[in-house]
């Protein structure tokens, strides 16, 4: 027993002195807490402005965006009486008179407030042909007589007697819906509530998602292939040359993104410098100049050039820390230069590769301005589609939904990356 106690001096000590007191007799823990309290408050106050800034500019807008993408209360609020009456309707046969009556009063209010147009748009999203019958109803509604609204409404247009349209109204009853997310994946809820694909000629989003991933992947790959030797050169050259090279790498970084993209337009267009050069060296004939802009080629070229520094810098910062004696050791131990590189140098640069690739990929996946300018039809990405819905169709909830899907995609990639490489292995500089 003694031996056990002595072999574990820590336990021995802790049983002897249960609670450590300070010289003044206050428990040590309490005293420590008191002493640290001031510092903690100070630290919190220093962080406070940033915290507020983050909440106002980041947490709140993203929350708002998330909410907007699932918020579906507009129709619910416009037809309160109808939905109340519909609560008992099973949706199989045409609804009873009370539903028609409630709908009549709801719609009459909307017509009087002149806000029926929004309802028409929303319901038309749900089922085609709603717009015209609602317009027709609006014209007739003033002449309606009291009582028997069911027959009167059904007389306006024969579609009002079709149960499908009433089901469509009922489907918009919930306050929240995932319809925008489904739309973003070229899916929809059909009349019976099953999730199905949209008709083939309307499946554009999936193509865009895949193209975005493809472009981001290849841009990352091109950046990596080009940046690795540059970063290596930067890390190994003597200071006076490496500084110059560093400026060459960073110079485009200091130029406006728009200017750089525009200069690529000058270079890549059919009568542009690159094409002129190809003709001059006889690679292509003058009347057969390849199109390098307004397609994927243009997007690849311009994005790779623009995102290159984001790959060079993390790689450089990692390579700078690798001692040249390691390569020498590898060689003196009998490794050929290639083996020494592949077994020693390359594994040590993985944190930089990880950081660079993650950075470039995430930037590329949400890239907007370059594909918008040089992408043309086959080179636009999902972010262009988001912008389109923000600016042109004003379907903000759909744009929000796609933005959030993009964010989830990025987080998923980050998660996978963490599993594969480990985020604590990243080294940004």
């Amino acid at each position: 027993m003694r031996a056990v106690i002595f072999s574990r001096p820590f336990l021995f000590m802790s049983t002897e002195t249960k609670k450590i007191l300070t010289t003044d007799g206050i428990p040590l823990e309490e005293s420590l807490r008191k002493a640290e309290k001031k510092n903690k408050i100070k630290a919190f106050l220093l962080v406070c402005p940033l915290l507020l800034f983050l909440i106002i500019t980041y947490v709140f807008p993203i929350g708002e965006m998330l909410f907007r993408s699932i918020d579906d209360r507009m129709v619910t609020n416009m037809l309160p009486k109808t939905y109340k009456a519909m609560e008992n309707w099973d949706g199989k046969e045409l609804p009873e008179e009370e539903v028609f009556e409630a709908f009549f009063y709801d719609y009459k209010t909307l017509v009087e407030q002149k806000t029926f147009g929004k309802l028409a748009t929303q319901l038309n999203y749900e089922k085609n042909g709603f717009k015209s019958i609602l317009k027709k109803l609006k014209r007739k509604i003033k002449k309606f007589e009291d009582g028997n609204y069911k027959d009167q409404i059904m007389d306006v247009h024969k579609r009002w007697a079709n149960v499908e349209y009433w089901r469509a109204i009922k489907r918009r009853a919930p306050n929240f819906s995932n319809a925008k997310y489904l739309k973003g994946m070229d899916l929809l809820k059909d009349e019976s509530g099953n999730i199905t694909q949209v008709s083939e000629d309307r499946r554009i989003h999936r193509i865009l998602w895949l193209r975005t991933l493809e472009v981001a992947f290849f841009v990352t790959l091109f950046c990596f292939v080009m940046a690795y030797p540059i970063a290596h050169l930067l890390a190994t050259l003597p200071m006076k040359y490496s500084n110059l090279l560093m400026i060459c790498v960073l110079l485009p970084f200091w130029t406006s993104l728009l200017v750089r993209t525009a200069s690529w337009m000058i270079l890549l267009q059919q009568q542009g410098i690159v094409n002129d050069f190809f003709v001059w060296i006889g690679l292509v004939t003058d009347d057969n100049r390849p199109e390098m802009m307004y397609n994927k080629t243009g997007t690849y070229v311009a994005m790779t050039q623009i995102l290159l520094p984001f790959m060079v810098l993390p790689l450089y910062s990692v390579m700078k820390t690798i001692s040249p004696s390691l390569m020498r050791a590898g060689k003196s131990l009998g490794g050929t230069p290639f083996v020494a590189f592949w077994k020693i140098y390359f594994p040590l640069t993985i944190p930089g590769i990880g950081a660079g690739c993650l950075l470039v990929f995430i930037l590329a996946i949400g890239y907007y301005i370059t594909p918008a300018l040089v992408g043309g039809a086959s080179g636009t990405l999902i972010s262009n589609q988001i912008a389109f819905h923000m600016k042109s169709t004003l379907d903000w909830s759909f744009a929000s939904a796609m933005g959030l899907m993009l964010l989830i995609g990025v987080l998923a990639i980050y998660w996978v990356y963490n599993k594969l490489v480990g985020v604590d292995n990243i080294k940004l500089g």
């Binding site: 390691l326 020498r328 050791a329 060689k331 003196s332 131990l333 009998g334």
Partner: protein, 361 residues
Amino acid sequence: MSKNKEFVKFDKVDKSYDGKVLVVKDLNLDIPEGEFITMLGPSGSGKTTCLMMLAGFETPTNGEIYLDGNPISNIPPHKRGIGMVFQNYALFPHMTVYENLAFPLRVRKINKDEADKKISKAMSMVSLSGFENRMPGQLSGGQQQRVAVARALVFDPAVVLMDEPLGALDKNLRESMQYEIKHIHESIGVTVVYVTHDQGEALTMSNRIAVFNDGKVQQLSSPDQLYEKPVNSFVAEFIGENNTFAGEVTEISKDKCKVRVKEGDILANPISVKSKGEKTTVSIRPERALINPKDKMDNNHKGKIEEVIYHGDHTRVRLSLLGNSEFILKVPNSSENLDIKLGNIISIGWNSHDARALDPK
């Protein structure tokens, strides 16, 4: 099999980095098989450059290096089969100790069983058995150093180069590692070329020492010869402590000469002086000069004690003697109480044989 006397041979090797300054000048050096040779010199003396040329990371500007009779200037480093221990160990940080040691064996396509045998042998040689699965970052400096030594030896190279391998260790560890490396060398008989600027290290470990200065080998001899019989004033200054007198030869015979210094005359052993009137530096080791000598010594002078410094096992006494106020004496603390007090005048003597008249500085 007789040992090759010219196992490593530097033949008229010159090296220049910029075409203007020679870092190594006309180096001729033969290293017999199994020898522990140290290149010793101040920084910038060209010793590391010589090592790098032997390892293959630098090419000689002129001349040739032979390994076992074969010229190696055109052989890339990975084909030379020379083990090397680097200044900062250069262990591969992403590999375990085992993988570090396995690297030279794996590139030589040695099968796993044999490799395992060699690795465990090398690990026990540096007494690190059981550390195979550690990462280098989890080891202390001394342990990393041992791993580096083991890695340089594991593939049985003919020559092992060590570039100031103990420079980053603290004093005690450095001393114990010196003995350890020396014992490893003695037990396996590999040829070692060791570079250091620490003379104590060089004296402890080496069979022979090549003292470098200004791109040239100043003296190549065994540690005791180097200490007792330096051939020029640089070596005398660089190795151990040294009292010097600058002066001019006034009389010279076969094994004695008289040198006039600032305030008096010294009898000395003419090493690099040939004739009367030459300028010279006379060098005397502190322990060769005695206080109140009992034996008859042919140099006997009076000096005044300027400073007494207690050093534990001995006391250092600074005197002003014959116009030199930096004359150092080492007095063992066991010796009977001599009259060592600040300001006392004492009598100092030494044999002319121990006072070496070398080239002027």
